[in-house]
Amino acid sequence: MSNPLKTSLLTLDARTKKRNAAETRFRAYGIAAIGAGLAMLILLLVTIFGKGLGAFQQTFVTLNVPLLEEKLDKNGTRDLEKIKKVSTFGYAPLLKKAMEETLTEYGIETNLKSKKQAALLSKSAAAQLRNYVLANTDMIGETVEFTFLANARVDGYLKDRVTRESIANDKSINAAQLDMVDALLAAEVIEKRFNLSFITGADASDQRPEAAGMGVSMLGSFFMMLVVLALALPIGVAASIYLEEFAPKNWITDIIEVNISNLAAVPSIVFGILGLAVFINSVHLPQSAPLVGGLVLTLMTLPTIIISTRASLKSVPPSIRDAALGVGASKMQSVFHHVLPLAAPGIFTGTIIGLAQALGETAPLLLIGMIGFIASNAPDSVASGFLDPNSAMPAQIYEWAKRADPAFYERAWGGIIILLVFLITMNTIAVILRRRFERRW
């Protein structure tokens, strides 16, 4: 009965050993690949947050400004039309005076001229003052406390972006001014704190990076997303339902199917130039308008929505359709009463992911002029939200990254953080929807 080939189960034979080794190796590759991916992600996040968080903090200067009657309203009539004649230029003396008085109050010595002293303030300070006076003419003659933005260089000094070495060739700030900043910091006249207007405000000109914010371009993005949602969702869902449930399977539908998949792979800039040619040059819709941006992004998002909607319709088991038809439901009843509700979570997930893609899209906006436009005001009505020139979040970020002043560079990173927060929120909603309404049968 002795079998020469008989082996024990307690010792591994050569083949098994080799197989196990191969499996162990493969697992190691997998873990290494995931590890590399995670490391990249962490590096990315650390960089983005490291460079961008600064944008959410801003340096402010608190001053008591005497609203001198002789400068603002010589006749003392409080006539708004007369007061309006005083331009921001006319408010500069008030700022200089306020700065001088503050320095005396805290006993800070400096041999800077008052113009240089006031240069620590943002160029937006005079406008801020003027707006206040125009809205509160009764305060003329009083002394009012204001919180002004500090100049971007001062802000950079507090954030270590500007140092005493780096300003050697800088015409806009000098060492004596930095001494003054140090003294004002000690006196708590200057302080750095959270800056809401970076999130809510409008973009600002090249000279005032400290005043620039994302808010208006966020609105631009919001109106574009409304257009995309209102067009891409119904069109995409209707097309998918027709293709998946009603259309006969023949070569025509095959061609349509292939082309939808191809459309999903078309570079977005192609949609941009299409939008330029069709919506702006032929239909004469306004340039730089969120409506046009939304239309272009709709074209881009449609294939994504159609593909994901068809996939979720396909995943509804055919037995449900049979059940509905079996009790005498029409095709349409079976689709709308049973199939669509079951596919809805998948459809919404796909839509949200398509919207998130559209939200981050930059290239097509370049071609329809939504980049490079500075929207200095929030749209004042829903119609103007769609039709007035605006920017969009990624376009705004691109615009800032292009500008020379490093203060804008920081804001570009800050903008990316805001954009990422939106994208992560949308994706989280998509995941929750999918989890929550996932059905098992």
Binding site: K249, D322, L325, Q333
Partner: protein, 258 residues
């Protein structure tokens, strides 16, 4: 079994041919199915039992490549006539499928769905009544009467299948088609469904496809034996199982074809 209505012909098929593209799946089938009777279709798998059953309520219309020829009359009316809307037909000819397929909705809504879309109930109380009656006739009322709001998909396999039967019964059909209704069920659930089928015969013509010859023998009065798309033999169940006239039927029943 001295019921006279048993002799009334409910469904009459003449020279029925079914093609799936080029595959000739049903060949020259002629059969008369009696009312208030359980008729069983037996035969080896792939012989076309399901295909023929699905002709009776035009479920084959949903398959693009499927093509039916010949006449199928229900109460003397050709269901393949151009004027017939299959949707209307299916309310009259209910169907129960192989795998229990309740809607992922409440037990109540599963049963109420058919009556709702066909406008069978005017008031909520009418609907409640239909639901209760249907669940009772599917012998599941006592098990679910306290949880009509619970999802139908949460029931056991046998309960789900009886729920599907209740759903089919709720539209007040005249014919009930069942395609291997017990093949996904355990023996106890199978026994319950079989008992139910016998009761359903009071009100409907029941046509059941089964791969189990014992089941055919237990529940049916008439049996049709299909082989390779042909209807080989059709007659009283007793006669088919005891004195088959065709050698192919005999080999199948004795287990030589399968």
């Amino acid at each position: 079994m001295k019921d006279t209505s048993m002799d009334t012909i409910k469904i009459s098929a003449k020279d029925v041919q079914v093609y799936y593209a080029d595959n000739h799946a049903i060949k020259d089938v002629n059969v008369d199915i009696a009312d208030k009777t359980v008729t069983a279709f037996i035969g080896p798998s792939g012989c076309g039992k399901s295909t023929f059953l699905r002709c009776l309520n035009r479920m084959n219309d949903t398959i693009d490549i499927c093509h039916v020829e010949g006449d199928i009359l229900i109460d003397g009316e050709d269901i393949y006539d151009r004027r017939v809307d299959p949707v209307q037909l299916r309310a009259k000819v209910g169907m129960v499928f192989q795998k229990p397929n309740p809607f992922p909705k409440s037990i109540y809504d599963n049963v109420a769905y058919g009556p709702r879309i066909h406008g069978l109930a005017r008031a909520k109380s009418d609907l409640d009544e239909i639901v209760e009656k249907s669940l009772r006739s599917a012998a599941i009322w006592d098990e679910v009467k306290d949880r009509l709001d619970a999802p139908g998909t949460g029931l056991s396999g046998g309960q789900q299948q009886r729920l599907c039967i209740a759903r089919a019964v709720a539209t007040a059909p005249e014919v009930l088609l069942m395609d291997e209704p017990c093949s996904a069920l355990d023996p106890i659930a199978t026994a319950q469904v079989e008992e139910l089928i016998d009761e359903l015969r009071q009100n409907f013509a029941v046509v059941i496809v089964t791969h189990s010859m014992q089941q055919a023998a237990r529940v049916s009065q008439k049996t049709a034996f299909f082989h390779l798309g042909n209807l080989v033999e059709y007659g009283d169940t007793n006669q088919i199982f005891t004195k088959p006239s065709d050698p192919r039927t005999e080999s199948y029943i004795t287990g030589r074809i399968g």
